[in-house]
Structure formats: C-alpha cells, structure tokens
C-alpha cells in the first residue's frame, strides 16, 4: 500500500496535514545487530534498503555521524549517466541507470529523475574521435549514445557560444539521451524511509570512534552513543574512508581525499534542458526544476578533508562557464559549497568483502558516486548478504591494484586527483 498517493494527499489535506508519520524514526541504537552500515549517505541507506528488501536482513543499523543528507548525497550536482568506456564500468553504471528509471515507483517517493540527456562537448578533432570511440563502446553494450554536429548542438542548447570566435570552438559532442538528473535529497529521504519501514534503525548523530575486535575479526563498533555489536560491519563513508579505516588499524589505502566544489546560481527561466560538459577543462552545468543553474568543475588540487573550497577553483569554474555561455556573465551566484571525494587510484570504485574478517567496504567513488547510488547499494547488499560480490561489482575489488587489473577509464594512471 503506497504511503504517498493522491488519496493520502487528499486525506491529509482535509485533516490539516497533522497525521503524516515521520519518514523515519529516531531510534536509540540497540546493543547488537546482524549488520551495521557505517555512513548514512545515499550508498549506506540504499545498502540498508536492499539488505532488507532483497535479502530479508532487517536487523540492520545505519550509523550516521551527522544528519541524513549532510554529506555528499546532499552536496553533489545531481547528474546521472552511464557514458563510460570500459565494460566493467559501463555494465555497472547502466545497471544503475535501469534502477534509476524505476526508482520513484520502487520507493514510492518522487526522486524527480529526469532523463534530459548529458552532452559532452568536443573542441578538437581528436577529442571528437575519442568520443566516437566511447560512444561506440557504449552502444556495443546496449547504452544509447549519439554524436551530435555543431548545428544540432546549437539548436539543442541555444545558450552556447557556437561561433568560431569562441575561446574553444565547439566541433561536436557526444550525447547520452537516457542520462539526466535526479533530486539528490529525495534519494536519501526515499531510501531512508524505505529502509525504516522495513525495520532498519537509522541512527543519526552517531559517530563511529573505533572498532570492536575478536582476534582479527571485526565484531562491532564503538560510537559516541556506546558500543554496538554486529555480525557484519559495512563501511560506506566516501570521503571519510581514510579516517574510518585508520580506526580499524589500516593505515594505507589506494585512496586520497579531495574537495570538489559545486555552485548554484539564482533562479532563471528555463534556459538549459540538458546537462552540458566542457571538453577543454573540467566544467559541467545543468538547470534544476526550480531554475537555478547547478554547476561545478575540477577538484581543489590537493588533499583535503575540509568541506569547503578555495577561491582559485571558483575563478576557474566561472571562467569556464563564461567560455561556453557568455550570456551568463551577469547571473549571480547564489551559493557554493564543497564535498570530500574519495578519489581512488584508477578512478573506479571499490565494493568488496574485507579487508578484515567481518568487514565490508564500499568506497573510491571519486566525484561520481551519486549516479551509482541504487546499484552501489544493490551490489553492496548482495556482497554483505552472500559474502561474495554480485557479478556487477565483481571487478571492483580492493586487490585489483596489486593484481594489475585496474579499471582506469580515463587512462590516467595512479594519480587520484587527475581522474
């Protein structure tokens, strides 16, 4: 029975909206659980949801050090796409895309998934050749991709400077029409409510301060709200991976943390009905349903755990935006913020059992974790429940770096900030 429907809206409107149940409870943590998920972001919440729904494991706690949505799930630029080159990534992210397409229905929660397309602009013939290669790789695996000519692009995105006088003239682009955006907070809230209704305890303001061990085995955590024991402890803490793993005595990981900034402009009338990425720098922009432009660029270029950015990147992002859209020069920036990204050594994630007995690890999302939220939770839940990876996350192991089976989509090498 759907909790949100036309009838429940009408009924609650007539009763003055006094009878809505909170979307999730505020339980105190129990002394023990079957599974603890550390991290109440999108991935932690979707993991708990699929543990309960797909595997019947409902004695689960999600421990969140702040409030739900305070981390990267509430800080990203909301793009959802699956335009990768390598088959491991394409299969995983396309599985995620399929889950996105049904997510509002699945959760009975409107995540406002909008398949408005993502367009990568090319500014050199070599880049266009590279996009043709990537587009063909995508189509080979059943993902839609289309090369667009400059005249098609000019009609689709009227705000772009298509002239030859542009700083970097646009020669074409690669469009994935099935890509798009989703309302990021709603994803967190929808998964939280879905998990909560299935019996999962979502414990906010509960920071993990250490791990309980029985020999080598992880058997629980210590928190600022006391000790909690569990048969299995899953870590899904994105930018805080280094910190949490150090609590478990693992001093080094194939990950570095960097800050990525994002920006929102004042609300404009409908201006941009797709997501556009710049090919001569790192810049991407979309427009929310409320009218604000949501955009971002490159990482602040040095290791950081500060959830705020530096000014040189602000300047760079703004100048890149104006190189593409000169007409935006007078638009005011409403706000900007930063999120901490767990940049892995090959730019691909890690979803795996271990590295310690009783522990499960989900990390390395770089700046692309939001679009993976459904598949990440789905695969991580499978890995936790079965003690073995799902076929979609089997390549994303932690030991792929020592085995030489890295998944480096960009061909960048082991420099995390360059992915």
């Amino acid at each position: 029975m759907a909790e949100y429907s036309v009838f429940s809206l009408l009924r609650n409107a007539l009763s003055g909206n006094q009878d809505w149940k909170p979307a999730w409870r505020k339980p105190n943590p129990k002394p023990s659980y079957d599974v603890i998920v550390i991290g109440g972001g999108g991935h932690g919440l979707s993991t708990a949801y699929y543990l309960a729904k797909e595997h019947g494991i409902t004695n689960v706690a999600v421990l969140e050090k702040g409030y739900l949505g305070s981390g990267n799930v509430g800080r990203n630029t909301t793009a959802v796409r699956s335009n990768y080159l390598l088959p491991q990534n394409t299969r995983f992210y396309e599985h995620s895309m399929k889950m996105w397409e049904n997510l509002s229905h699945e959760l009975n929660y409107n995540v406002m998934f909008s398949q408005r397309g993502v367009l990568n602009l090319a500014h050199t013939p070599a880049q266009l050749d590279d996009y043709a290669r990537r587009g063909n790789a995508m189509r080979h695996l059943g993902v839609d991709a289309r090369l667009m000519t400059p005249s098609e692009i000019g009609r689709r995105v009227p705000g772009l400077d298509m002239s030859q006088q542009a700083r970097f003239p646009i020669l074409g682009g690669l469009m994935q029409e099935s890509a798009g955006t989703a309302r990021h907070d709603a994803v967190a809230w929808g998964y939280a409510r879905g998990a909560d209704r299935r019996g999962v305890d979502i414990v906010e303001n509960c920071e993990v301060t250490g791990f309980l061990r029985d020999g080598d085995r992880i058997v629980g955590v210590t928190t600022n709200r006391g000790e909690i024991r569990a048969k299995k402890v899953a870590v899904a803490v994105a930018g805080s991976t280094g910190r949490v793993m150090q609590l478990a005595g693992i001093e080094r990981m194939p990950i570095e943390s960097f800050v990525l900034q994002a920006f929102v402009s004042e609300s404009l009338k409908p201006f941009l009905d797709t997501v556009v990425t710049f090919g001569m720098g790192h810049f991407y922009v979309g427009q929310s349903d409320k009218g604000g432009l949501i955009y971002g660029g490159d990482l602040d270029g040095y290791n950081s755990y500060a959830q705020r950015g530096s000014l040189p990147i602000v300047e760079e992002v703004m100048s890149e935006m104006l190189a593409l859209f000169p007409s935006l020069a007078t638009v005011r920036v409403l706000r900007s913020w930063g999120g901490v990204c767990d940049m892995s050594m090959d730019g691909s994630p890690i979803i795996t059992t271990g590295p310690l007995p009783g522990m499960y690890l989900n990390c390395g999302w770089c700046y692309g974790g939001f679009k993976a939220t459904p598949a990440s939770g789905f695969c991580f839940a499978h890995t936790i429940a079965k003690d073995a990876p799902h076929e979609f996350n089997a390549p994303f192991t932690l030991d792929r770096f020592s085995r030489g089976t890295v998944i480096d989509d960009k061909g960048q090498g082991p420099t995390p900030r360059m992915h």
Binding site: Q246, R252, M253, S257, S304, Y305, S310, M345, S402, R417
Partner: protein
C-alpha cells in the same frame, strides 16, 4: 592559501603545482619486490590532519618543496626544500645516494 617558499617568500597557492603525497620512497628500480612497488604506486596514508606533501613552485623558482599541511584546516606547519627533507620529489634519489 599562501605557501612560504624558502627562496621566494610567501606566494599565492596558484603559483604552485601539487606533486602529491610526500611520504613514499621509490623502491630501487631493479627491485622485483612487487609489494614494495604496490605500496609505492598505490597506497597512501591520506590523513585527516598533518600531511607530508611535495609542491613545485612552478610559477616561481621551480624548487620542489616538502610541505607539512593540515588537510582539515589548510594550515601550513613547515616548508622546506625537498632535497633537504630527504624524501626526494617523485622518488628521485638524491645525487650520490646509494641505490
């Protein structure tokens, strides 16, 4: 963020190029110890706090600098020439050092 280059004095961060983690030492090139190479290439301490790192004063004297910076506050505790620090930039051995 300002970085105080020991040669040029305090300069804006935009003059500098980040060279990454300064904690690692490159194994001897003839080494076949795959674990040592794996640690050098892929493993990072990534601390939330004081971090040893290498910066290149690309828009200045072009010296490689060994910087200790707090990754939570961006406060810089020390800046030295990397060659004095000993952890040579990008694992380059010091001139005359034994393999």
């Amino acid at each position: 963020m300002l970085i105080t280059c020991p040669y040029c004095g305090p300069r804006d961060v935009s003059e500098f190029a980040y060279q990454g983690d300064g904690n690692r030492t490159r194994p001897d090139p003839s080494s076949t110890d795959s674990e040592a190479w794996h640690a050098y290439v892929y493993e990072r301490p990534n601390p939330a706090g004081a971090h040893n790192e290498i910066w290149l004063h690309a828009g200045g004297c072009r010296a490689h600098l060994a910087v200790v910076r707090d990754t939570l506050t961006h406060e810089i505790a020390s800046v030295r020439f990397a060659r004095e620090h000993g952890a040579a930039p990008h694992g380059r051995r010091k001139p005359g050092a034994k393999a």
